[in-house]
């Protein structure tokens, strides 16, 4: 199988879906002539022209709203946010229009749209450009939220997202765009809402997604060197959540750590822990721990940023703690 970068997996998914379906178009800042701020749309303008690869000015509310309005008419927009930090200024469009229109119109309209772009901290971008948005979007009934960590998952899930009849928030990672992974040449789709075990083990369950996945895998590797085998579950979809995959593993390991990029307060990590204690309380041998950002705005200075971020070492500490190996 050929190995490709995640950015190319994303590009290939968009290209294949645009070839398959004339209703699919891409809109966002710098997606056309510039080939994408992170080159995720490289070559698409040449292939599909200005009708379907549309450079928008800096107006996130505007082009997110245009996408929503076009989706209501039967088109299949892909809206790229240069980073999800800028989706904050379009939040109302996503919250009140994309997520609600199907419901509020009693099903007269649907909004088949994908909002995609990099999410969470990259490297030394400061607090406005380092935020993880999954708690904001996963909070909202009516949205699908996906976070990908491999080229294989990125391509298969993005294709599914584009075909999905619902509004989908599709979270990528700037730090991981150039990470390579195997992607089959033949077409495939990955179903939305299904987690994937990225490493198998019976001692501790590590639940993670998106940019947390490589950190969790590294932590699991460190733990294995100490004789603790981790089940690393990549959720891939955060809404709807594959609760069963989490519970199945926790019932086996009786211990769990949730490792992710994002703040601890009121997030997806807390939701997962709530579900574990509700549905697998009797199976737990230790409190479930979170490894994530510290509860502070992201500082710029390299040493401070490093202290705030989840690292394999912090992951290892938590794994040891739930395994009572300290």
């Amino acid at each position: 199988m050929p190995e490709i970068q995640i950015r190319h997996a994303i590009r290939d998914a968009m290209r294949e879906e645009m070839e398959r379906d004339d209703r699919v178009f891409l809109v966002g800042e710098e997606v056309g002539y510039y080939n994408g701020a992170y080159k995720c749309s490289e070559g698409l303008l040449d292939l599909f022209g200005e009708r379907r690869v549309i450079d928008a000015p800096i107006a996130e509310t505007g082009f997110a709203g245009v996408g929503i309005g076009a989706a209501m008419c039967g088109l299949r927009p892909i809206v790229e946010f240069m980073t999800f930090n800028f989706s904050a200024v379009a939040f109302d469009q996503i919250l009140n229009n994309a997520a609600k229109i199907h419901h509020m119109t009693n099903g007269q309209f649907s909004v088949p749209i994908v909002f995609r772009g990099p999410n969470a901290a990259a490297h030394m971008l400061g607090s406005t450009h380092s935020q993880a948005f999954e708690p904001f979007y996963a909070h909202v009934p009516g949205l699908i939220v996906i976070a990908v960590a491999t080229a294989y998952d990125a391509k298969g899930l993005l294709k599914s997202a584009i075909r999905d009849p619902n509004p989908v928030v599709f979270l990528e990672s700037e730090l991981m765009y150039s990470v390579k992974g195997e992607v089959p040449e033949e077409e495939y789709l990955i179903p939305i809402g299904v987690a994937d075990t990225k490493r198998a083990g019976d001692d501790v369950t590590v639940i993670t997604w998106g940019q947390g996945v490589p950190v969790a895998l590294k932590a699991a590797e460190l733990a294995a060197a100490e004789g603790i085998e981790c089940d690393v579950i990549d959720l891939r979809t955060l809404r709807p959540l594959d609760t069963e995959a989490v519970l199945e593993s926790v019932r086996r390991t009786n211990r769990a750590v949730v490792l992710f990029h994002g703040w601890p307060y009121g997030g997806v990590g807390g939701e997962i822990i709530a579900r574990i204690q509700e549905m697998a309380f009797d199976h737990l041998d230790a409190p479930v721990l979170r490894v994530c950002y510290e509860d502070v705005p992201m500082p710029y200075a390299e040493n401070l940023e490093h202290l705030v971020l989840p690292t394999p070492e912090r992951g290892l500490e938590a794994i040891r703690e739930v395994a009572y190996r300290r």
Binding site: G62, G65, V66, I68, A70, D92, N106
Partner: protein, 338 residues
Amino acid sequence: MTTPTDPTSADPGNFDAYFQSREDTLRWYREMLRIRRFEELAARSYTRGKISGFLHLYIGQEAIAVATKEVLQPADRVVSAYRTHGFALALGSDPRACMAELYGKATGLVAGVGGSMHFFDRAHQLWGGYAIVGNHSPVAAGHAFASKYLKDGGVTLCFLGDGALAIGPTHEGWTLAGLWKLPIVYVVENNRYSMGTPLSRSVPVDDITLKAPGYGMISDRFRVTSVAETAERLGAIVKRAREESKPALVELITYRFRGHSMSDPGKYRGKEEVEEWRRWDPLERTYRALHEHHGLSEDELEALDAEVVDEMEAAVEFAEESPVPEPEARFRNITIES
């Protein structure tokens, strides 16, 4: 020189060319009256505690919705804010379903999940129903984008209040409409107030169409005094938007005779002001044109009114007798099974 179209005109009693056709005048009168009587009965039900939430009435602005229906072609779309009952009725929505929606009943326009502020009726070209001020402006641009993308020949008419001029999404929608040359007409229903705030305290200029050139829009601006003139001038702009794929801005100077919503007694404006605007009430003028110019007797007009009231009372009765949504209804239409 003053004419009825001039915002400063002083002669509301001049039955100009816009009332020449007896047949049209009568039809439009009836359509406007249907809206007014519907709104009055909705207000009565609200006062009786049968309707809750926010209820914004269209009384005074009816001619705009009726004129809109006149200029619409099958591929066109109407998008509005939350003062939408008039559009639904003018476009052909069933008044019973409209009233039932206000009552939160299963038979409502959107099965009781939306209420007054969220009217959608796709079959009648009503694409909302938006209650967050200004956030439909880019969505409407998206409909126009789709029309251009799919070459369906449709024009989107997006109505907004004067209160939506300050907020960002309005600007972004207009910017993209202008930049991408979308077939859309933004119509500001300038009823002089956003809640209790007069235009002078929310918009830096009095003439809203001064903004149009900055968005690459053609524009028109006039006081709404008859269905005919509104339809004629709006129609001309819609035609250009359609034929030249050009966005446009129309400022319609109008007035709401009731408070902002049912909870607003409207104390921020004087009686004289309201009385002055009443002289220009298109419904009132149309009545007078029918009576004084076309010779319809008071009895004839009374009979027509009674018919309309019957229709709307039937809508109230239907709403009252309709079932509330079943409990499971709250789980419907949140996401679609893929």
